[in-house]
């Protein structure tokens, strides 16, 4: 199956855009910033502004599957929306497939696809086929190619045989796969996937990952944002961790894992851990970070500490009086590295301690 870009227009030579293409870059962003301004009230208007992205430098090579990881509100979606022309950057420049995202919006739009997570963004009372047909027209897929192209994509996302059903009857996973098919209709050179697996069950998420991996294998550049570490680890050749509007670390999954080197992780199943307990644990000597995650009726407390220091007894002492389950010690994972990067970058006036081999954006 050909997933290249037969519908892309010939490239116009334009300044640095040509250089980006020659350099084999799908994305080239420099100093990208975005400020949201809000005004509330009429008689006494109150203006607020939030700086969502604070100077992102980023390059993504053609054919690369690049991950953008970060907590909620870190600036992932804002960054993607500036790159795909939905938002005008407040400052900085970005070129996508060699074209400026502000000056050459049509050229950029011809070359990109955008898929976002969630239930919305489709015409629910139409069938999948009608949805795809409409967007094929909008995106300029020649009429003679539409039937074949739609058939290929339905096959790719596993919706063959269900295409004549109304979208309102689809599961979330099916909708998500339809989103992907829609994003690929015009054979984009670059696909933006903004948290595509959000709310999708584990089986559906695995199918999605397979679809995304197939895309990258056929040469489509993919920029993926996700919360799920396993997804990024499995799919991405490089990952940028973004927090508080800045890229905090950038490298291969193996390189990022080194952020957690020199640490060990204690995991405690518990019930009733509150902010007071977390604060007390953070004050313990040798503790680098701790977090608690709700799992079903219980919680899992994760404490990262220096390798040479066994903090388990002190942690259990802080938790005395609570009902505890299994206590274990393990080696750090990519998720622990991610937590280390994000938590260190969010600490007041902190500087992230970077291993020398890991590339870093400001």
């Amino acid at each position: 199956m050909v997933l290249g870009g037969p519908y892309a227009q010939p490239v116009r030579g334009r300044g640095t855009g040509v250089r980006s293409r020659e350099a084999g870059l799908a994305i080239e962003a420099k100093g990208l910033r975005r400020v949201y301004r809000n005004r509330t009230g009429w008689l006494r208007p109150r203006r607020t502004q939030v700086e969502a992205v604070r100077g992102v430098d980023l390059t993504v090579r053609r054919g690369e599957l690049f991950g953008l990881l970060g907590p909620n509100g870190a600036g992932k979606t804002t960054t993607i929306k500036m790159l795909n022309t939905l938002l005008v950057p407040t400052a900085g420049t970005a070129r996508v497939c060699g074209f400026d995202v502000v000056g050459d919006t049509m050229q950029v739009r011809r070359r990109i696809g955008y898929v976002f997570g969630g239930d919305r963004g489709l015409y629910d009372r139409l069938t999948a086929l009608d949805n795809l047909r409409y967007f094929a027209e909008l995106y300029g897929v020649p009429h003679r190619d539409q039937r074949r192209r739609i058939g290929e994509l339905l096959e790719l996302v596993g919706l063959t045989g269900r295409e004549r059903e109304r979208v309102e009857g689809y599961s979330r996973g099916m909708r998500q796969r339809l989103h992907i098919a829609r994003g690929l209709l015009h054979s984009p050179e670059l696909l933006f996937l903004d948290e595509p697996s959000i709310g999708v069950d584990p089986v559906g998420a695995r199918e999605l990952r397979r679809t995304v991996a197939n895309l990258a294998a056929t040469g489509t550049t993919v920029l993926l944002t996700t919360h799920y570490m396993a997804e990024a680890d499995e799919l991405c050749s490089r990952i940028a961790v973004i927090a508080d509007g800045r890229i905090r670390a950038l490298g291969t999954p193996a390189e990022l894992r080194r952020y957690a080197e020199g640490r060990r992780v204690v995991e405690v199943e518990a019930y009733g851990v509150d902010d007071g307990h977390l604060a007390a644990i953070r004050r313990l000597p040798g503790v680098r970070d701790c977090a608690v995650e709700e799992r079903g009726a219980g919680q899992v407390l994760t404490v990262q500490s220096d390798t040479g220091r066994d903090v388990q007894p002190e942690v259990l002492r802080v938790l005395s009086g609570l009902r505890l389950g299994r206590v274990s010690t393990r080696e750090p994972t990519l998720e622990d590295a991610y937590v280390a990067i994000v938590s260190e970058s969010s600490a007041p006036s902190s500087t992230v301690d970077l291993p020398e081999t890991v590339g870093v954006a400001p």
């Binding site: 939905l86 739009r109 919305r120 909008l138 995106y139 300029g140």
Partner: protein
């Protein structure tokens, strides 16, 4: 050709989407029936033989206008809520071409009203559907619908610029019915309403359809209706390009 096909496919699919909504069907068919009933009782005492047919056609046109006003006026907001606005505007097309199929579709679904009110009048009140110019009527209705679809683009683009567009939408429904002569002749209105009525495509479309039904010269009226609508289309397209750029700066394309 590609552009015409895109507009036609888009309009057809939006008509399908709108026609599968119980709310849209109810507002397109039931409300005009109530209006037709009121109109019939208003005009049944008229000595003119074609008065009842004119009333039924007028009530149908009122339904088309309501559909365009609420559907097209709220087009941007509706797509924003459905989460489709961003993916539509990401298409490598001018914003007007992306929204136009939807505004056409609101006019087409509004045309259900004309069919419903004519059938209602025939079945319930025995109104004879004898059109003065049947060919003119068959042409005038689609042209009027098409024109209102173009006018809808201007509504879609300008309403989104106003924070309280919903309130404005409600306020515009009845005055345009009156000013356009959909129910009562413009000549019965105060003189100062004349210039306002003259620049509304609804006035000329309504006059053309009524002329075809009850007698009069259809074609000049249709030509004026189409010309004014084309001006609205151009103004709407310009406004929509401005709105799209502004929305990308202000980050208002999405809900979140």
């Amino acid at each position: 050709m590609n552009l015409v096909r895109m507009l036609a496919v888009g309009t057809w699919l939006h008509v399908k989407q709108l026609s599968r909504s119980p709310f849209e069907i109810a507002t397109s068919i039931l409300i005009p029936l109530v209006q037709a009933t009121l109109a019939v009782y208003l005009f049944r005492a008229s000595p003119q033989p074609q008065a009842l047919l004119g009333a039924a056609v007028g009530a149908g046109l009122m339904g088309v206008w309501s559909s365009v006003l609420f559907g097209s006026g709220g087009a941007i907001q509706r797509h924003r809520w459905e989460g489709t606005l961003e993916v539509l505007l990401l298409a490598p097309r001018r914003p007007a071409l992306v929204i136009l199929p939807f505004t056409f579709a609101t006019a087409v679904t509004g045309a259900y009203s004309i069919m419903a009110t004519l059938l209602w009048g025939r079945l319930l009140y025995g109104i004879r559907l004898t059109f003065a110019d049947p060919v003119g009527f068959v042409v005038a209705v689609p042209v009027c619908v098409l024109s209102l679809g173009m006018f809808g683009l201007l509504l879609a683009s300008t309403f989104v610029l106003m924070r309280n567009a919903n309130a404005l939408t409600n306020a515009l429904e009845y005055p345009i019915w009156l000013l356009s002569g959909m129910l009562i002749p413009i000549t019965a209105l105060p003189g100062w309403t004349g210039p306002i009525a003259a620049v509304l495509p609804t006035t000329w479309g309504s006059r053309a359809v009524r002329a075809a039904a009850t007698g009069g010269d259809v074609w000049p009226l249709l030509a004026v209706c189409l010309a004014i609508s084309l001006v609205c289309l151009v103004l709407g397209a310009l406004a929509l390009s401005y709105v799209e750029r502004r929305a990308r700066v202000a980050a208002t394309l999405a809900l979140s």
